[in-house]
């Protein structure tokens, strides 16, 4: 099992990959055998297959439970080593809240920083650039840290038909996967809306597969007083966020695993 470590060893993902391939292979075998169920030669096969499939499924379930359990636990080892950080900018008010939070986090610890915004949102990255420039001014140098600014395709734009959105969703997921492999974040900061879901899902998938451990922090928008947003609900219910923060006490009562932190704005 791959534990919760900051720095993963290079070879640690190999067995995990092998396991994931084996799930595929066995489930394939099973479907073949059930099609040819009349053939007496194959009668002994299903029991073995069943055992293997059950074992694999239980291992995967155990692994997911292990990941979910350790995700909710803080790191026990103290360290000042900077962590590679992915910051997902929502748009409008979401971006403003995120930059407000970044202003009080120690930037030198969250480094390098990668900003992602939806391809249709042309304001957010501009605001992030202004924020990064102000950090550079404070440091008094231009050479030190550099931040990266990236755009991501959205799976569905407002008003897009559901038929075409199948294609664009697949495209968006592939793009998100590519970005996640490139960025290799150890920390993900997000606050909705939907843009963050494919990236968080891939990060969680990578954790389960043992490819990379990243800590996912989700701060629900101040605009959400009574109900979590759809992104918030997905991350909460599926245990995908390591920590989910809410800004109103009513929300914490409704979602006890969330942490109430007061208004950020």
């Amino acid at each position: 099992m791959i534990g919760k470590k900051r720095i993963k060893t290079k070879n640690s993902n190999k067995p995990r990959f092998r396991q994931s391939f084996s799930i595929f292979r066995h489930s394939e075998t099973q479907s073949v055998s059930s099609h040819k169920g009349n053939n007496p030669c194959l009668h002994r096969m299903p029991i073995n297959v069943l055992i293997i499939v059950t074992t694999v499924i239980s291992l995967v379930v155990l692994r997911i439970l292990y990941v979910v359990y350790w995700s909710s636990k803080p790191f026990r080892t103290k360290s000042t080593k900077p962590v590679s950080t992915l910051i997902i900018l929502g748009s409008g008010g979401h971006t403003a809240e995120m930059l407000n939070l970044l202003a009080v986090l120690q930037a030198n610890r969250l480094s390098p920083r990668h900003y992602i915004a939806a391809a249709t949102d042309n304001m957010s990255l501009q605001k992030a650039r202004v924020f990064e420039d102000s950090l550079a001014d404070k440091r008094g140098d231009q050479t030190g840290e550099t931040a990266q600014f990236l755009q991501i395709y959205r799976s569905r734009e407002v008003g897009q038909s559901y038929v075409t959105s199948v294609g664009t969703t697949i495209f968006a997921i592939a793009h998100a996967l590519l970005l996640m492999m490139k960025i290799k974040p150890q920390v993900i900061l997000c606050n909705g809306p939907g843009t963050c879901i494919p990236l968080c899902a891939i990060a969680f998938f990578f954790k389960v597969l043992g490819i990379r451990w990243s800590s996912i922090f989700y701060v629900e928008s101040i605009a959400r007083v009574k109900r979590l947003s759809l992104s918030g609900i997905i991350l909460y219910k599926l245990h995908m966020a390591d920590q989910l923060f809410v800004q109103w006490p009513q929300l914490q009562k409704k979602y006890p695993r969330a942490q109430y932190v007061g208004c950020l704005m």
Partner: protein, 178 residues
Amino acid sequence: MDDSDGSLKPRRIVFVTVGTTSFDTLVRAVDTHEVKEELSKRGYTDLVIQMGRGSYIPTTSSGEDGSLNVEYFTFSSSIADNLKEASLVISHAGSGSIFETLRLGKPLIVVVNEDLMDNHQSELAEELAERKHLFYARPQTLYNIIATMNLDTLIPYESGDAVPVAKLINRFLGFPDD
């Protein structure tokens, strides 16, 4: 725009903002005789409307006959200056302009857009209105709110603080407190 016209009356501006989209029902509600007259009665001299992508064009007026001076524009890169100049802000329910206005300590009426599909935005305005930081209106009730509001009942909003959540994130990641 300056005071060279000799009038001794200081400018008291009402700034209306609809944000990045359109909110014609709000612009229409503001651009009615009764609302403008009420604002004028309350001592406001200017009405500046940021109308966004809306198609309804408000009627402008130079205000020479003693009525409100009405201007409008679609977008500007920053409405910060408009907010600073204003004596009263009438805004859509987006959290960005709500908090920008509250931080400046300006009296604020938030008008909720009931045409929006996912109308979660009303939650925030309702909560802040309950805490008496702003007035909450719908386009149909805007006139009533303006006619009956008492700005002295508003409680100034104390800016929030992102430090507690930053501390929790730091601690979670095993960074030392300092």
